[in-house]
Amino acid sequence: MTSAVLDQDTRAVGRGRPGVRSTLTPGASLGLGIAMTWFSLLVLIPLAAIVATAGQNGWQGYVDTLTNPQTWAAIKLTVGQSLLVTGVNVVMGTMIAWVLVRDRFWGKRLLDLMIDIPFAMPTIVAGLVLLGVYGPDSPLGINVSNTRTSVTLALAFVTLPFIVRTVQPVLAELDADVEEAAASLGAGRLAVLRRIVLPSIIPAVTAGAALSFARAISEYGSLVLLSGSLPFHTEAVSVRVFSFIEGGDRTSAAALATIMLGVALAVIIALDVIQRRVARRG
């Protein structure tokens, strides 16, 4: 599932520049009009409503909402945990992708299948299954529920596929000749890895890391049962937004939501930049 979203060539539609002459036929224009109307009603206007609502109490109100101690603690926790989990994914995701592409062993297909499970599994169920092994009745005797480790665990689960699925296709298409040439010229294994393999997969790792970070920042469902959402301790930003909505405080909810929207936008821009840089080099 992720591979479809992340493959660099799948995102290579953006050839049109502003001011480019339109080649739309009347029928296609009508189609574009209908599609844009739906897209606006579904995505653009609702997201604009968040920005508009966030500004209702003025700049001071906006700042006050975000610097409220409980909210600030939630922001710090979420950003910190998301960075931590993204770091773990950079190492583990790249290694899993390597194993899936370059290694051969019995059960590899199963490993490949398991990588996609977090993507297809309902997030609330993700929290529930993790509780089964790392909750109060843990067969391992490890109970992380209602601790910060549970947040790390839930985020690591839901973001597992991202880097694996961005790096895997790039690694599979690496030209073996270059590596062999380097080796035949006397480069050791580490030198080949560092000088040839690593530079080619860095754009994919970065793209995967950006998506993984965005997903971690926005995660909600898997945290509900697992983290306990204790204020100042395990309460994530999305949970805080939810309690603002439940309490009827839409302005505060929207203010906090703009931070998350900002991260999502930054990630989209980063992906676009990476994709263009890769396209230019290739």
Partner: protein
């Protein structure tokens, strides 16, 4: 191709296997154990609860609508982005990916701010004209469409780029109209991409939680969906019910992954 030394190779293999097993494999197995700990009868009992079956029916119904809408939108948008040039295309292409990184909670809030009957921008007018969006099916379909929006487009776009438009132009020069070209040439060429997109959209739709919790109002027996039942049952100490419903949801999501993974290699061989 560079090969790792035997110790490094084994270390990488074991570490990858252990990590994925501890994070995904074991928890999923434990879910199956919990579900059938009291045998088949307790599993069956869960699904004799009308609230549970109603929630499953709601989930399926909402998902079918969302899949239909996103499939039409995805194919149409894919064709527009690949086959035509127009100002703002690149921006639009980037914006279509946005829903993947927006929090479900933010999606729920955004839809409430526009379509709520009490305070939304359009909601009161729509409700005055008899269209209740929030705490009702239309809002739930919209939330589901939003979270799964890019999935079909992102499957269709690369395939459309790869097959090119030679055949479409040939058909057009032989007098085929736009609908004929779409039905006879374009759709058969992107058939498998559409199937993947639909399966992925279905998996995502069946499991949506956060956005639906907000826009559905979570009314038991009315707008409550299966993932919402899981939360409610678990927090009400009806853990067997929570496990049973979860098991069904996991089974469907695993089936979706299997379908995609079995279809993909077949296509690349042909």
């Amino acid at each position: 191709m560079v090969e790792l030394g035997a110790p490094a190779k084994w270390a990488a293999r074991l570490l990858a296997l252990a990590y994925v097993f501890l994070l995904v494999g074991w928890p999923v197995i434990t879910l199956a154990q919990h579900t059938f700990a009291d045998g088949w009868s307790s599993f069956a009992e869960t699904f004799s609860d009308p609230d549970v079956t109603h929630a499953l029916a709601v989930t399926v119904e909402i998902s079918i609508y969302a899949v239909l809408i996103n499939t039409v939108f995805g194919i149409g948008m894919g064709v527009l982005l690949v086959r035509y040039e127009f100002p703002g295309k690149r921006l639009l292409s980037a914006l279509i990916d946005l829903p993947m990184s927006v929090s479900p909670v933010v999606i729920g809030l955004a839809l409430m701010l526009v379509y709520s009957g009490r305070y939304g921008w359009f909601g009161p007018t729509l409700e005055a004209n008899g269209l209740v969006v929030i705490f009702n099916s239309p809002g739930m379909v919209m939330a589901t469409c939003f979270v799964a929006l890019p999935l079909v487009v992102r499957e269709v776009v690369p395939v459309l780029e790869e097959v090119g438009d030679d055949q479409e132009q040939a058909a057009r020069s032989l007098g085929a109209n736009a609908v004929q070209v779409l039905r006879r040439i374009t759709l058969p060429a992107i058939k498998w991409a559409v199937v993947y997109g639909v399966v992925l959209t279905l998996a995502r739709s069946l499991g949506e939680f956060g956005a639906l919790k907000i826009v559905s109002g979570n009314l038991t027996g009315q707008t409550q969906t299966a993932p919402l039942v899981v939360e409610q049952k678990y927090t009400n100490f009806a853990q067997n019910d929570a496990y049973a419903v979860s098991f069904v949801l996991v089974l469907i999501s695993v089936l979706c992954i299997l379908v995609v993974s079995l279809l993909r290699p077949k296509e690349s061989h042909s």
